[in-house]
Symmetry: C2
Subunit: 214 residues, 2 copies
């Protein structure tokens, strides 16, 4: 595998999508695919697919194409999906519970080890066998249980404080669902998921379609 310290984010964002389609092919028992066929499937140009993949190494074979299984495994490894991640969720509201259930349902190497909440009446309950604990004890829990990722499902106002606590306790990644951009030290990766922004994009495209009709 080549040195990939300076791969652009545009490329990284496409990898999970490539992987999703490869997984479908794999499940269908298809074992080879050319960049042209893959282009038709994914909507990316064949050229871009080859270019993207060659950032990481030559995974194909001239005159043949790519091994579906092989490429799937390579991309999984590039994304860091060849190991397990231990996670905690902060906030046991609907969003927190949806995330817990989602990872539980899709079982993928991302495992929720604990849920933390400030509201006393929720503490002690269990979701999918995972205990809801007192937010006060989050730092100790993260330290003692080698937690990798903190999932922030708090209100906007509580999010940055939760992030700071998690970073202090030693997580190396944050998955933030609160509608604010979380700041972290450079060694802690963050994904800010702004679900409402996506709804607003949708509204824009709907309005534009409506305008064009006139």
């Amino acid at each position: 595998m080549k040195d990939h310290t300076k791969i652009s984010n545009a490329v990284i964002k496409r990898l999970p999508r490539y992987r999703r389609y490869l997984n479908e092919l794999r499940k269908k028992g298809i074992d080879k695919i050319s960049s042209n066929e893959f282009s038709e499937l994914t909507g990316y140009t064949a050229s871009q697919i080859r270019q993207d993949l060659n950032n990481f190494g030559g995974f194909g074979q001239q005159g043949y194409g790519y091994s579906v299984e092989g490429l799937y495994n390579e991309i999984s490894a590039i994304l860091g999906l060849d190991k397990d991640y231990r996670m905690v969720v902060v906030g046991a509201g609907n969003l927190g519970l949806a995330v817990v259930n989602h990872t539980y349902y899709y079982k993928t190497g991302f495992v929720v080890k604990g849920i933390f909440e400030v509201k006393k009446d929720l503490i002690g309950k269990k979701i999918n066998g995972i205990e809801i604990m007192d937010y006060e004890n989050i730092v100790a829990f993260v330290e003692d249980n080698n937690i990798d990722i903190g999932i922030i499902c708090t209100t906007k106002d509580a999010a940055q404080e939760a992030a700071d606590k998690l970073c202090f306790a030693g997580v190396t990644g944050l998955w933030n669902f609160a509608p604010i951009d979380i700041e972290t030290p450079s060694h802690v990766a963050v994904e800010n998921v702004h679900i409402t922004d996506s709804l607003h994009s949708l509204a824009y495209h709907m309005s534009k379609n409506a305008d064009e009709k006139k």
Copy 2:
């Protein structure tokens, strides 16, 4: 407002973010901001901000800057947030319920009018006063209630079929949370939210950080 039939998607994706920050400023009672100050706040360059805004019109004033309130309203209008949207949710699982609660909590002109489900034992229950109805009746409901947006919170396998039904019934937008890319006729806008892709990006960045440490 200028003709904006060919605004790039990169620009559109930034608008909700601009709007979010403007809303914060507005709530703090700040009534003017320069592109330089706004740059520091949002992380985009002042040049890009001015360039982006000028796609839609000259909203600023030389020597002064931008009116926070005015710009907030302009961006809201561009995004189509100056009117209400009527929505239905397909799938009353955790994800569906999280979405229902989310829009309920943030009250923003996006109103869920009905929830549809195939599982008979859930039908008839209410969430935030919204009834869970039989999926069989979705087409009639969408037609009769002028529904604009369908929110797909089904399994992967059921998603495209639900999308087809919703399009047939006359929605003009789909917000899809199932892990598949939904296809629609060109007059129906779609936002495919791939929550898992974002987790995979996070994993990539975490792995990269870990590698650099070595």
